[in-house]
Symmetry: C2
Amino acid sequence: MIDIQTQFVKNVLEGAGLSLKDSGSAFAPSNIALSKYWGKRDPELNLPINSSLSISLGNLGTKTKIRLADADSVSLNGTPVDLNDGFAIRTLEFLKLFPMVGTHFEVRTENNIPTAAGLASSASGFAALVLALNDLAGWELGGRMLSMLARLGSGSASRSIFEGFVQWHAGNCDDGSDSFAEPFSKPWNEFRIGILELSNARKPVGSRDGMNRTVQTSELYKSWPAQANRDIETIRTAIHTQDFPTLGKAAENNALAMHATMMSAWPPLLYLQPESIEMIHQVQRVRAEGLEVYLTIDAGPNIKLLFLEENESQVAAAFPRLQVIQPFG
Amino acid sequence: MIDIQTQFVKNVLEGAGLSLKDSGSAFAPSNIALSKYWGKRDPELNLPINSSLSISLGNLGTKTKIRLADADSVSLNGTPVDLNDGFAIRTLEFLKLFPMVGTHFEVRTENNIPTAAGLASSASGFAALVLALNDLAGWELGGRMLSMLARLGSGSASRSIFEGFVQWHAGNCDDGSDSFAEPFSKPWNEFRIGILELSNARKPVGSRDGMNRTVQTSELYKSWPAQANRDIETIRTAIHTQDFPTLGKAAENNALAMHATMMSAWPPLLYLQPESIEMIHQVQRVRAEGLEVYLTIDAGPNIKLLFLEENESQVAAAFPRLQVIQPFG
């Protein structure tokens, strides 16, 4: 397993120089997919079945500093992490893919996204780690290569290499060389995302296992790749023309379709909680009253709202617990 | 529209005698689909896109008595129904398809299923009406023909012509002549159904509109017919071998997949309420603890449990508000 990943890393770094510094540091934003990544075609290289499209969350994300050391150490938000903890294990295993840089690392990570808000920290985490490595090693890799390295840590991390709207191309090659992310379009300053934190209960099934179960057992999943392709095209066009209702509709439909594939897996995969359903109904109600607000949901119970600046006060009034994010600063 | 239905009725009644009695009466059971009917290929003849398979609910259903009269009248559970009420309108419109029997009818209907329990009364209602007509007119039609007439009133009514396990064959013909129900297999005396009445709120979208919206807008629906065909075969075999876990699993997966197609429609069709989600999680929890209980859900918020007699007390303990039905008396 490590061999395939090691070979992939070698291919990406071919031709890159090595000019070690004392330490490397970087920030990477969290991101929320408007058209979701759901289903792997290769679990070792994290190659997806379908392309996905996201929006990065501006200055909300992960800041990571790494330096070479005599022994491994990991800290998170200033607190040392036990090396047997899952977070430390995944971080250090990832760094083992880069023996040309070093064998032991001191890793200091800071997340300024509330972990409980249901925002994936693995996306910004692995993206920041790769960017910090690039800084430490002096590779001077381009975004495409960096996104492919981040992908090895976590699929959605490939998108967190960039700001703004980002598309992760699924690619076709078995060696993973054409599965990378790229940013597109200009800022959309009026774009807002609202987080409704409904539950910070630990997920009963992680995303990785959840998508595998869905791919293997859901009959409806067979129609998912076509839906994803359709939604990405719709959303791309809507971003270029700044057609918010079209974007919102496609994003909400895409998220609910992803949850539909989960629900039709066996055993049924139901990340939604009673409060999630209440909020989905509430979004439909206020939209029926004329408010332009749409939702998206990742593999968890929390609801994220999509709306424009001009409707922020009305949305906040309809959803009192809302935490508003400005993805373009 | 009426013309196509009138022609269909003529075809079905071709060769049937007419030997009018004073009155006709009949009982038809309600039924619960284990593999759902979801999607019409012809809205006038109520021809389904996929076959479905149900279990009739024994002595729970509708008793109807009709007689020829000088003016139309309809009563429900002993109370006269206003002729502008939707129930009266649908009943009398259906009877207008049978001018060879009479032009005005007195219809007395009694349901012994709690309407609020989320059990469709239109299925047993139209089946009982057709059976009562057959009695009144002396047609002496066989079950297959009766099921096709009941289908014109409500698709699922075709299955309520029979007791026990029933399959409604979707058929292929445009004229609807091969879309009929038939019973199969012997009684399964240990089979139990438990109703969890969670909400008797009126559905925001009726089944007819709901299935049309799903067929027209859900990308995932494209995989639904294949799922339905697979589930019917699995359930048929499980009934013959009395393999309850296999039946339960296929029925639950089928119901959740139907709701998945709804959820991925646009606008999203979410019949599930917060309490429905709570119960779906609860079923998964108790099953993980070893209790053989499965669920099914129709186009509404209420949950129906499937289990065997031997587990009845345990299921009742886990679901306090349970109302238990013995489909085989």
